[in-house]
Symmetry: C2
Subunit: 313 residues, 2 copies
């Protein structure tokens, strides 16, 4: 059956996004059939993709002890560092191959196909089947110490199923040039809260970035973003209080979220890409940044730079 699908597949499918002809919810009896359908091409690896182009697909198998599957939100564990016999974590995971691919997906906003291993409840020991569960985007990536005591890479993936792209219908009626309509689901959403706390912090700094002092101007005033140091919600569980928020320009917000910027307890800022100290976090009366949240950020967004192939760039 999957062979029919392959034959019908338009030549424009480039590996990312929905596989033409494969609807969400379709089941595959094993990894070979799943691979033949090009939904998830490797037979063993949980992540399909490259550091350069990003991840095409992942399999959520429940095989990693640190995975969390909340349905529309998945906290996924990177690959590597497991003993091939016991499947136990025996060393640190590195930011290479599939792990790097998922970070690249975060930068590009390209959607990642999610496949879940489904085990029959009364036959837990039998081989699972595999269900294609649709497209997700990588919202966050960081490292942690797993239950095993070794470093693991983690990713927060959010379902795109309920997300209706505001302009999609209209776009599909337009000439799309050299583009491929199946790629229109690919988006980055830099989500910036505008809570009372966020507004308080932005006003305290008069919308000037706490890293560079830049203040973006719009016709009706200034624009700044409120960056949570320790993310809200699962799994970071940071509080929505002023001590956990920075007033940043969009560039430094992006760099902070990727761990390119490290902020020390004394508020000196280091650019991890160059190793250079680039200044000190600007302060404002009434806004005290909580050092515990800065430490959390340093502890979970720093390792990429030590293992990045790009650091010599």
């Amino acid at each position: 059956m999957q062979e029919e699908v392959l034959t019908a597949m338009p030549i424009t499918f480039d590996g990312y996004g929905n596989v033409p002809g494969i609807e969400v919810g379709r089941s595959f009896v094993n990894r070979q059939v799943l691979a033949n359908a090009k939904v998830h091409r490797p037979l063993q690896a949980g992540i399909c993709g490259t550091a350069e182009l990003g991840a095409e697909s992942i399999v959520v198998s429940g095989g990693y002890e640190d995975d969390e599957d909340h349905g529309d939100v998945i906290v996924y564990t990177g690959q590597g560092g497991r003993d091939s016999d016991t499947q136990r974590q025996v060393k640190d995971q590195e930011l290479t191959r599939g792990n790097a691919a998922l970070v690249t997906s975060q930068t590009t906003g390209a959607p990642v196909r999610v496949v879940r291993a489904v085990r029959h409840p009364s036959k837990r020991s039998a081989s699972p089947s595999y269900r294609y569960d649709g497209l997700f985007r990588v919202e966050d990536s960081w490292h942690d110490v797993g239950r095993s005591g070794f470093r693991i890479w983690r990713y927060r993936l959010v379902s795109l199923a309920d997300y209706v792209p505001p302009r999609q219908e209209a776009v599909l009626q337009e000439p799309v040039g050299r583009d491929n309509p199946t790629r229109l689901e690919a988006r980055v959403q830099r989500i910036v809260r505008s809570t009372r706390v966020a507004n308080f912090v932005k006003r305290a700094h008069d919308f000037a970035c706490q890293v560079c002092g830049n203040r973006l101007r719009t016709p009706t005033g200034a624009y700044a973003e409120a960056a949570h140091i320790r993310g809200l919600g699962q799994p970071h569980n940071g509080p929505d209080v002023a001590g956990n928020v920075l007033c940043l320009c969009p560039n430094h917000h992006t760099l902070f979220d990727f761990g390119t910027l490290a902020i020390a307890d004394d508020l000196t800022i280091t650019d991890r890409a160059t190793g250079a100290e680039i200044g000190r976090l600007r302060e404002a009366p009434g806004h005290q940044v909580d050092q515990a949240h800065l430490a959390y950020h340093r502890d979970h967004y720093s390792e990429g730079w030590k293992h990045s192939p790009d650091t010599s760039e």
Copy 2:
């Protein structure tokens, strides 16, 4: 009935977001009752809000000849410039009061309550009733020449109804500090496409911003955003081709979208906030920017600066 609602309203309601106790879809017999319920406070104006804090609510009455109501997407016309007797547009609209408030909502991402005037199909001449249709965000703002021949301000509002904030459930379980949970719907989504065209343009420039040359670095590579010069979809109908895309850093993407940057046909860049020429758009082999799209952008995102109270800043 509305009085009961007012009595039950928590003291924390600050005018923005859902009014506690008022469900989406509730109807109000006239503007006075609507105002009493605090869903839309002014009795005549279509926009409630201030340039400083943003818009609380709008009424979509169909009274402006240039409004477009697509359900989840509304292209809304600003206020002013109409003859009070004939309701015809007789002069240019200015970027002040409600019109400026809607631009501020775009910068803060705060949700705007949308009320629609509902006319009985068989009694078109009777007074309409007013239905609260939920929260929208302002995705885009620009100016145009209306059917009347005068300048009008326009806003693209997108419903937040189908948008499930990824972290909302988790956040609601967390201590929210000084924040008000009803404000969690307030978000800015800077949506950046990662289509094949976008990737082509970003790679052509090796992820360096075409305005400043800055290249943001992440652990797995570089980060840039593809900015459509003429927006895709209704009502701008720009094409998704490389000539309509710029490779920008997040800061210059934000400034370009607000019209702070003007790019001339000879690719010189002017900062409208200061009036200073700040350089020339960087070019890359194989990527030719289409002057027609630059002209469209200049024609629709420039007027705010001429009328902004902030330009002397």
